[in-house]
Symmetry: C2
Subunit: 286 residues, 2 copies
Amino acid sequence: MNGEIGLDRLSLNQATVKRLGLDEAVELCVRHEIPAIGLWRDRVAEAGLAPAAAAVQAAGLRVSSLCRGGFFTVADPDGRRTALADNLAALEEAAELGTGTLVLVCGGLPPGQRDLGLARRMIEDAIGALVPAALRCGVRLGIEALHPMFCADRCVISSLGEAVDLALLFPADAVGVVVDTYHVWWDARLADEIARAGRRIVGFQVCDWVLPLPADTLLGRGHLGDGCIDFGAIAAAVVAAGYSGDVEVEIFNAEVWDAPPDQTAATVRERFANALGGGGARRLPG
Amino acid sequence: MNGEIGLDRLSLNQATVKRLGLDEAVELCVRHEIPAIGLWRDRVAEAGLAPAAAAVQAAGLRVSSLCRGGFFTVADPDGRRTALADNLAALEEAAELGTGTLVLVCGGLPPGQRDLGLARRMIEDAIGALVPAALRCGVRLGIEALHPMFCADRCVISSLGEAVDLALLFPADAVGVVVDTYHVWWDARLADEIARAGRRIVGFQVCDWVLPLPADTLLGRGHLGDGCIDFGAIAAAVVAAGYSGDVEVEIFNAEVWDAPPDQTAATVRERFANALGGGGARRLPG
C-alpha cells in the first residue's frame, strides 16, 4: 500500500536512548532487530571513531545518519573558522562511519543580532564552503528545518520550503534536506514542499508532538502515537517523493531517557509498525 | 521616513495589563496619552457592554480591535452551533464598541484528531457562515496566524501566508488578517506575505520573542526590545502594504502583569517609540 514503510527501514537514533554509550546502543538495536542506527558525534568520540565504525559494521547495522554538524551563524572570523573546521571533521567522521548523511542544525541568530537575513546568508556561505568536502567524502549535508520555536537560538531555517530553497542552490550530491515530523508537521505547505524536495530528501526522522510542552521545549517529543502528528500522511508523501532510505525514530524526552532501554526499543518498534506500516491512507492537506 | 509609526497610532491591548478592569485600563491609556485600546470580551462583559462602549467613547479612545472570536474546530454539531452563536455575539459587541476588527484565534486540532486539513476546512466553513453578519455589523473578521507551537491546541493557521489564502476566499469588507510579530517573525516568506496581504491587514500587534520560553509558552512575550524581533523591518513592510491603523502592544507575560500598570504603560510608550518610530531602515529578508 502507498506510503507503507516496513520495519526493515527502522533506524534508532541514539538520542532516543541518550543514556547509552555507542556499544550499548548497537547491542540494543541488534537485540530488537532494528537494522539501522543514527549516530551522535559525542558518543562516537567517546567510543573512538575507528572502534565505533567497527562496532556498527560487526553488528551488521546500517548508519542512517550522523548527528550533527551546523551552528554556522557565528559573527566573528575565528568562530566561523572553528565552525567550518568542525563540520569538515564531521564529514570525515560520517564517511568513516559509512553513512551518506550529515544532519545539520544550522544555527540561530548570532548573539545580539535581529537580522534573520544575515543569519541565513551566513548559513548559505558556510554550506557553500563545505560542498567540496562533502563531494570528496561522499556524504550529503542534510539541512534540517527546525520548528519555528527554535528560530532564535538554534536554527533560522524554520520550514521545509526554506530548507529546500537552500539545498537547491548546491549540487544534489552534496546537499539535501532532512524531514523531521516534529519540526514540520504544522506546515500547510508540507505536502507540496516534500514533493518539491523529491530526491533531495536525505533523511527522515519521526517523533510525535505531545502537549503540554515541557519547560525545556527541546524535550517535548513523544513516542509515535502519543501526540497529534499524522505520520501515515507525512510518510506517504515522503515515499511518494522518492525517499527509500531508513527512517529514524529520534525522541528527545526526559521520561523516555529514564525508561529501561529495552522497553524503549520495544515501544519504538511497535509504534513504528502501527504508525508507518499501514497508516498511509490519508493524504496530507494541500 | 519609511516605516515609521508614531505614538499617535499606539494602542494598548488590554492583555498587557491583564489585572486591570476595563475602566482602569481606559484611565491608564488616558493618563499616558495612549490614543487607542484593544479590548477583551471578558473585561467588556464584566463592565457591561453599553457602559464599556460609553467609557471608551467618553475617554476619547479609539478601539483598535476586540479580542476575540474563533475556536471553530469543534467536531460535534452542538458545539459548532455554540461557537457560531458566540462569534455572532462577538461581532455585535465589536460594532457596539466602535471597532472594525474582531480578532480570531481559529482553533487547534479537534480533540483526538490528527487531520489538519479537516480542522482547516472547519475554520473555512465557520468563517463563511459568519461573513453575512460581519458585513451587516461593519466589522471585519481578522484571521490571526498563531505561532506553529500553538498549532495543535489553539490555531491550525500557522503562517501569515495561510491566513492570507483563507482571507482571500471571502469579501475584503468581511475578512482580513491580523499580523502579530510574536507569531510570524521567524517566517522567511514574511515580507512577501505582508505585501500580498495588502489592504487585508486589519490589525497589527507587536511584542517581542524572549528566551528562554517559560513553562507556559503562552506567556513568553516581552516588551519591544527585550527579545530578538526586528520590529522596524516588519513595521516598514506593514506600512508599505498600506496598513494605516492602530498598532497594538499585546504582551502576555506574568512579570509584566505583576508590574505596576503605570510603569508598564510608560515602558510600552518608550519602547514603541524606539522600535517603531525610526527603526525601519532595514528591510525584511526575502
